[in-house]
Symmetry: C2
Subunit: 529 residues, 2 copies
C-alpha cells in the first residue's frame, strides 16, 4: 500500500508536468542503502514528493537567507521556530556570500504554475531551498520543512540534534483555494492568547481561512464602537475582544498566511444583541441574557428601521477591522421568521455587506432568500442530497463544504466521548477523512466548491484543553482533504502519517484524542474508533 501511494505521489499535479520521474522511494528500499522515506510523513501530503540521497544537517553555521518583498516575515518565522530547540543563532540575512550552509527562502524563479500558495522545496548537502511565487507559498513550504525535521524541533528549549533534513524534492500546491477552520467563541469565550494558539495549529496544517463565529444567543464577542452595549452587556460574564485585540488577531493570522473570516450571525442567534438594546426587539424591550444551548428562538425585529441601522453600523466596523474579502452573516435557524420575513431581512443584509466592499457568506439556509450569486453558501447538513445546493451551484454560487457528519469538529468521536454533540451521529477520525469535499453533495460539481471548512462549535467546550481534544487529530484530516490531490487521499497511508504527528503534539503539550484507529508510535492498536 505504502509503496503504491508513494509512487502515486510522484504523479504530476494538473498541468505542471512530472518532475522527478522514477526517483520515488518506498519502504522496500529502506534496508538497501537507498533513501528512507520514514521521515517523509508530511501532513497534508505534498502533491509531488521524491526522496533523494542528499541530506542537509542544520548546524550553528546555518544562515537563513531570504529575497523578495514579504520573504523576511517568513524567514523570521522559520528562525523563531528553529531557534528554541536547536539553540542555534540562525541569523536571518539577505543573499550574500557563498550560499552554502543556508536555508534559502526565495520569491525569485518560481514557475507561475505554482500559483499563490504553491512552493518547491529542495534539499542538497549544502542547504535547503524553498521557492514560491508569493510569501504564502514560502510559509507553507516552511511548515513542510518543519515536519521533515525530528519531532523534537517543536520543543521550546534546547534538545539534542542532529537536525537533519532528509533528502527530498517537493513540488506542492493546494487542491482548494479555501481551506477553512471555524471556532465558536460565542457559546464559550476564548481569549486572545488561546485564539492565537488555535491559529498556530491551523497554520501548521496549511489551513488558510479562520472563520470566527463572533456572535450568538449566548454572547456578543466583539466590541462594536457605535453600539458598545453589544459587547459590554451582550458579552455577559464571558467577555469580548476589544477592537485592538481583534485587530491583533487579524494580523496574527495574516502573518501566518491565514485570512480571518468574521461572522455576525443574523437575524436569528441574536439574543445577546436583543438583550443589549431594546430597540432591536419588536416590543422595544430588551430580552434577558441567555446561557442555555437551545437554538431558533431569537430574531432581530425585521420591521424596525433600527435593525438595519444597527446592522449597517456593525458591518461597517467589522469590514474596517478585517482586510479579507469575506464577511459571514450566518442566516441559519431563524425559526421565528416566516420565509417572507427572512427574505425581507436578508435582501437588505446582503446589500449592506456588499456596500462595504465585502463578499457575503452565509450558512446554506441563506439560499432560501435567493441572494445574489456572489454570495457564498456554507453547507452543513449531513445529507448528501440537497436540491437547494444543486440549484445554487447551477445558478453560479460558490459553496463551502462543512457536512455535519464529517467536518464538524465538535461531534463526539464515539459513544464514549464525554465532550461534544452527537446530533448527526458520531465522527471518527476515519469518518472525518474519508469523504470528498469536491464530490460530497449529489449533483454539485467540484467546480462550484470553494473548499472544505471544519466548524468547531463550543456549546460543550469550556476550556482550551477541551478544544484541543476535539480538534486533534481531526484537524489534519480536514486539512489534507483541502490541500492534497483527491486521488492521494488514502486512509491507510494517511493514518500512518497522522500517527507520526503524535510525538509532535506530545512535545507541544496538545491534549489530543488517541484514537485507536491511528497507529500511534509505541501504542497497541485496538479495535476501537
Amino acid at each position: 500500500m505504502t509503496s503504491v501511494s508513494r509512487r502515486q505521489a510522484l504523479r504530476s499535479i494538473a498541468g505542471t508536468g512530472l518532475l522527478w520521474a522514477g526517483t520515488g522511494a518506498s519502504r522496500a528500499q529502506r534496508d538497501g542503502g537507498a533513501p528512507s522515506d520514514d521521515a517523509l510523513t508530511v501532513v497534508p501530503r505534498p502533491a509531488e514528493m521524491a526522496p533523494t540521497r542528499a541530506a542537509y544537517e542544520i548546524t550553528d553555521e546555518t544562515t537563513i537567507m531570504f529575497d523578495g518583498s514579504g520573504a523576511f516575515h517568513v524567514a523570521t518565522a522559520l528562525a523563531d521556530l528553529l531557534r528554541p530547540a536547536t539553540g542555534f543563532e540562525l541569523p536571518v540575512d539577505r543573499p550574500t556570500g557563498s550560499g552554502t550552509d543556508t536555508i534559502s527562502l526565495t520569491l525569485d524563479g518560481a514557475p507561475p504554475t505554482l500559483g499563490d500558495e504553491g512552493y518547491r522545496l529542495g534539499v542538497t548537502d549544502s542547504g535547503v531551498t524553498i521557492r514560491a511565487a508569493e510569501p504564502a507559498g514560502l510559509f507553507w513550504g516552511v511548515q513542510t520543512l518543519r515536519q521533515l525535521l525530528p519531532p523534537s524541533v517543536e520543543a521550546d528549549s534546547e534538545r539534542a540534534g542532529p537536525w537533519t533534513v532528509p533528502g527530498v524534492q517537493i513540488r506542492d500546491a493546494p487542491r482548494f483555494d479555501y481551506r477553512g477552520v471555524h471556532l465558536d467563541v460565542a457559546r464559550h469565550f476564548f481569549d486572545v492568547d488561546a485564539v492565537k494558539q488555535y491559529i498556530d495549529y491551523l497554520a501548521a496544517y496549511k489551513i488558510n481561512h479562520f472563520h470566527m463565529h463572533l456572535t450568538d444567543d449566548q454572547g456578543w464577542r466583539l466590541m462594536i464602537e457605535s453600539w458598545p452595549r453589544l459587547a459590554t452587556v451582550g458579552g455577559g460574564e464571558g467577555g469580548y475582544y476589544t477592537q485592538a485585540e481583534f485587530r491583533d488577531l487579524v494580523r496574527y493570522a495574516a502573518d501566518r498566511s491565514i485570512t480571518l473570516v468574521p461572522e455576525i450571525d443574523v437575524p436569528g442567534h441574536t439574543n445577546a444583541a436583543l438583550a443589549s438594546y431594546g430597540e432591536l426587539n419588536c416590543d422595544g424591550q430588551p430580552t434577558d441574557l441567555y446561557t442555555g444551548t437551545e437554538v431558533g428562538f431569537s430574531s432581530l425585529c425585521v420591521d424596525r428601521e433600527e435593525t438595519y441601522e444597527f446592522f449597517d453600523d456593525v458591518i461597517r466596523e467589522v469590514a474596517a477591522l478585517t482586510p479579507g474579502p469575506y464577511v459571514h452573516i450566518g442566516g441559519d435557524e431563524a425559526e421565528e421568521l416566516s420565509e417572507a420575513e427572512y427574505a425581507q431581512f436578508m435582501d437588505r443584509a446582503v446589500a449592506i455587506v456588499q456596500n462595504y466592499g465585502k463578499r457575503p457568506v452565509g450558512w446554506y439556509q441563506v439560499l432560501n432568500a435567493d441572494p445574489p450569486e456572489s454570495t457564498v453558501a456554507q453547507y452543513w447538513n449531513p445529507s448528501r442530497e440537497s436540491s437547494l445546493l444543486e440549484a445554487a451551484a447551477d445558478a453560479g454560487h460558490e459553496l463551502l463544504m462543512s457536512p455535519g457528519s464529517r467536518a464538524f469538529l465538535d461531534i463526539k468521536y464515539n459513544e464514549g466521548t464525554e465532550l461534544g454533540l452527537s446530533w448527526p451521529g458520531f465522527t471518527s477520525v476515519r469518518d472525518a477523512y474519508t469523504w470528498d469535499p469536491g464530490a460530497y453533495v449529489d449533483g454539485v460539481d467540484e467546480s462550484a466548491v470553494m473548499g472544505p471548512e471544519a466548524p468547531l462549535w463550543s456549546e460543550t467546550l469550556e476550556t482550551f484543553d477541551d478544544v484541543e481534544f476535539m480538534l486533534f487529530p481531526r484537524l489534519p484530516a480536514i486539512a489534507e482533504l483541502g490541500w492534497s490531490p483527491a486521488d492521494e487521499t488514502d486512509w491507510s497511508d494517511f493514518s500512518e502519517r497522522l500517527a507520526a504527528q503524535g510525538p509532535r503534539w506530545d512535545i507541544l503539550d496538545v491534549n489530543f484524542y488517541r484514537s485507536p484507529q491511528v497507529p500511534w508510535p509505541g501504542g497497541e492498536r485496538s479495535g476501537g474508533i
Copy 2:
C-alpha cells in the same frame, strides 16, 4: 498678575469672537462666594476659559456618552483614565436616556472655527459636555478635564472623592498645528513600554507630534526587513524595535492624537549602518560598532549605488510603517563630506522620500543642499541670527523651531545638574518657557513656523528615570508655547499652574526636577534655578 492674566484668557482667539465676556474670575473673588479659579490650573493654558458658578460631581451614576465616528476611542480613554482612582463603573454608551449625569463627548454641533484640534468644554450641575469637530479635539478636551479634577485622579487605585469638576466654560484651540517632542532612542535604547509611557506624558500636555530619532552612530533601532543586519548587528547590545513593535508604537501614539515622525539620520551619524554592511562604505569594509559620544566622523559612501539602494529600501519600509505625512532624514553634522558631496547625496535622498509619498524633514543643515521647498527644516542652532533660515523662509520652506538653548530637553538645568549636556549653556525651566517660537529667529515670520519641537537626546540618559528628570518640568513649558496664545504666555502665571502639576507627578511617580523657580505646593522658594 493673576487677575490680569485670567482676564486676558477671556480674550477671543483670532476670528472666533468673545464668548463669555465679563465672567472672568480672579483670586480676588476667592473669599466672596464667587467661583474660585484655584482648580483652573490647566497646562497648556486654554485660549479662552471662564469660571462659572456651576459644578458637576462625577459619581457612580455618571455615564460617559459619545456620538460621532471616532468618539468612542476617546470615551474609552476617558473611562480608562477615571475608573482606577474613582472606582466607578462609568459605562460608555451611545446617547440614550435623559442626558443627565453624563460626560458627553460629541462631534456634533462644534463650530468649524475650532478646527482639527479645538474643542469646547462646558460644565453644568448635571454633567460635562466636550464638543469638537474631530476626535483629536475631543481627546485634548479630555486632557483638560483631567486637569480640572483633583490630582488624586491620576492614582492607579481607588482614592477618596469627591470628584468635582469646577464650573467652567472653555473654548480652546492650538496656536501651532505642529507641537513636537523628540526622543533619541539611538544613543540609549528605550523599550516599547518606556516609549509608551513617554507618549502618555506628551499626550497629557497636548503634544501632537512625536519625533523618534531611530538611528545614529551608536545604534540602528528599527528592523528594516530588506537589510536586517542594520538592526541585528547595528542595534548592538542595546536592541531594536521589530516592525510589529514599531507599528504598535505608531498606533499607540495615533490613539492619543499623536503623529509619529520617524527619523533615519543620513548621510552622517551612520556608523551603526556602516558597521552592519560593508558595501555602504567606500572601501567596502564594515566599520566597528561605536558607543562613544563624538559626532561628525561617519558617512555613507555617496559615490556607491548601493548607498541609494539601501536608502530606498529603508525609506520604503519606514514609509509603509508610518501613516503620518513626514519622514525625517536628519542631514546634520555630515562633516566628512564636501558641500558638493552632501548636496549630491541629499538631492537623491529627498527625492526618495517624496517618491514614497512623504514630506521630507531635515535638521536645518539640509538647507545647504537647496532641497525643494516642501522640505521642512528643523532649526536647532541656539543663535537667533541665521541668514540660512531667513532665506529658506523667504523661499517658502516651513520651519520647526528647536533652539538648543531653549527647546533641547537634554541640556542641564544649571551647573549642579548631573545629567545632560551644556554645549549651549544651561536651560532653566524659565529659559525653556520665555521665548517665542513664532518670533525666535531674526527675519523669520511666524507664518513660516510650523511650530516648536523639543528634542531629548540621550547620550547621558541611561534609564527612564533619567529621561523623566530632564523632561519634567520643561515639557509643559514647550507644550504651552506651542498651544497657548502668544500674549497669554506669562512666566509668573505659568509657574503657578506648573506648580499645580507637581502633586500629579508625585502620584504618577514621575522623577521630576523640583526647580526652585517653581512654587511647588508645600515647598519653600529658594533663589536657585
